[in-house]
Amino acid sequence: MEALINWLVTTFPPLSEGLARFIVYVLYSAVLAFVAPVIIVVGYTYMERKVLARIQDRIGPNRAGPLGLFQGLADAIKMLTKEDVTPVCADRVVFNLAPILATMAAILVFAVLPVAPGVIGADLQAGILYVVAVGALGEVAALMAGWSSRNKFALLGAFRAVAQLIAYEIPIVLAILVVVMAAGSMQMSVIVAAQDVPFGLVLPVAFLIFLVASIAEIGRSPFDLIEAESEIVAGFHTEYSGMKFAFFFIGEYMHLFASAGIATTLFLGGWRGPFAGPDSWFGVLLGFIYFVIKTTAVIWVMMWVRGTLFRIRIDHLLDFAWKFLVPLGLILVVTVAVALKLPVIGASSSRWVALLAANLAAALLMMLSVSVLARRSRSAALREVAGVE
């Protein structure tokens, strides 16, 4: 970004540096807010349908255009031409604002994604905390949608959605905390620069917690109780149709890309790769390509999980968050903190080995305690059923 600003200042003399900086940042924000969502939605909905189809042993869309590539466009036309139904006694202003807020909360995350070396919207000192904070904004949108629909089922769906979102916020924060401890800063560019070895290899348990909790935060299967048709009609977006429903849909895909982008930045090294660096145009472009490839790989894993696992019930879902992921996350934070304070023996890579050992130890401890407790509760239940022996 700095190079681009300098180039602009040198080639257009009447441009002052402040104005050039303003123009570059405004252009970047416009691309992120208007161009990126369209490309993401069109591209990734097509990819999702193809991936799910192949997992389910069928072909997927292949009618609209060659190889079905225009399916996204066809979907967009369908959404735009649907009738926009608003319930009679719905709260108009809040009803219309809710999908906008939901999508806004997802797109705001794009501002701190380091998509290429040197290219980041706002390199905040507390970048990763900003991501968590903006994620919390989506809960207000869900409540607004559920309440303004004046529909009991929408309201119940909104309650469930917010309970799920709040429950899975904490494992995400704990996983992020582990990465912040390992990288030494909350700034996104510093986290990327600290990953000589990608943190996903060194902190696998944190990576898994982050992935699972992100899938739950987005509201995808297997955690899609809040929007599945066989459960509660369509959750808090029951009464929405046409473009407003499309906004929720777009918001979900934005959130998907944003979460995958954050996972790439925190655990897979962001834009790092061979020959990618802030020196030349080619390095920057290569960094961007690496980022997109890694993010797409993470999204592919999320789609794979969607096509494979069955839906989880709401109380199991909440139990999983509060009784498994949160204790696991806390144990992980403590063990990683201890492992980071150990003196470095031998090469500096022994630090990574210590972190990996801490992760595996935490996971092992958790698995052991869960199995012991589960066996105890199972035998207690059996004894109850079979009578006292």
């Binding site: 402040g18 900003y130 968590v132 994620g135 207000v140």
Partner: protein, 183 residues
């Protein structure tokens, strides 16, 4: 006046409209749900103030806790105590006019006092470089301010347990609205 100054003043005006306008709407709105949403708007305006005052970390904390947790809690409580009825009844009690008078007098006294005091503003050099390093903030929280830090974690724990116990239905599992984030 440089461009930077102009942008700051423009932002201050917009944020003041958001915060004070939202605040007025909070206390005068007939619909309680709308009042809570206007509170969210007001809190977002306050968040903008913190960004203008170079307290970026505090702005993010405000977004995370006030808008992301406390507002959700208030919205849940509103939904659980009103059912689906949207009452258009007046939300003021019969003392509102004297309350308005007293509040206006308090405001006038405050404003007159603060405009007449000479504040010990820091040197220009210090004003230009505020201490916003998050690492130092973290070190301060576990160093000089360790005791308040521990006390507030204890307070949050007590509030969490107390809220769960208070709102527990007799004999059944606690209601969903007590899922306080407690961060």
């Amino acid at each position: 006046m440089t461009i930077e100054h102009a942008v700051q003043i423009f932002a201050f005006i917009i944020l003041t409209l958001m915060t004070l306008g939202g605040g007025l709407a909070v206390v005068t709105s007939r619909n309680l749900f709308h009042a809570a949403l206007f509170l969210v708007l007001s809190l977002a305006g306050a968040m903008g103030y913190y960004v203008l005052l170079d307290a970026g970390f505090l702005a993010i904390v405000q977004l995370l806790i006030y808008i992301g947790a406390i507002s959700v809690l208030i919205l849940f409580a509103i939904m659980l105590t009103r059912g689906l009825m949207m009452s258009g009844q007046v939300q003021r009690n019969e003392q509102w006019w004297i309350a308005a008078l007293v509040v206006f007098l308090i405001f006038v006294v405050l404003v007159v006092t603060l405009w007449q005091t000479t504040w010990p503003i820091a040197e220009a050099e210090a004003l230009r470089t505020p201490n916003v390093a998050i690492a130092q903030l973290g070190a301060a929280l576990v160093g000089p301010y360790a005791i308040p830090f521990e006390v507030i974690s204890l307070l949050l724990l007590v509030a969490l347990v107390g809220a769960i116990v208070l709102a527990r239905e007799e004999g059944n599992q606690p209601a969903q609205a007590d899922a306080e984030t407690g961060e």
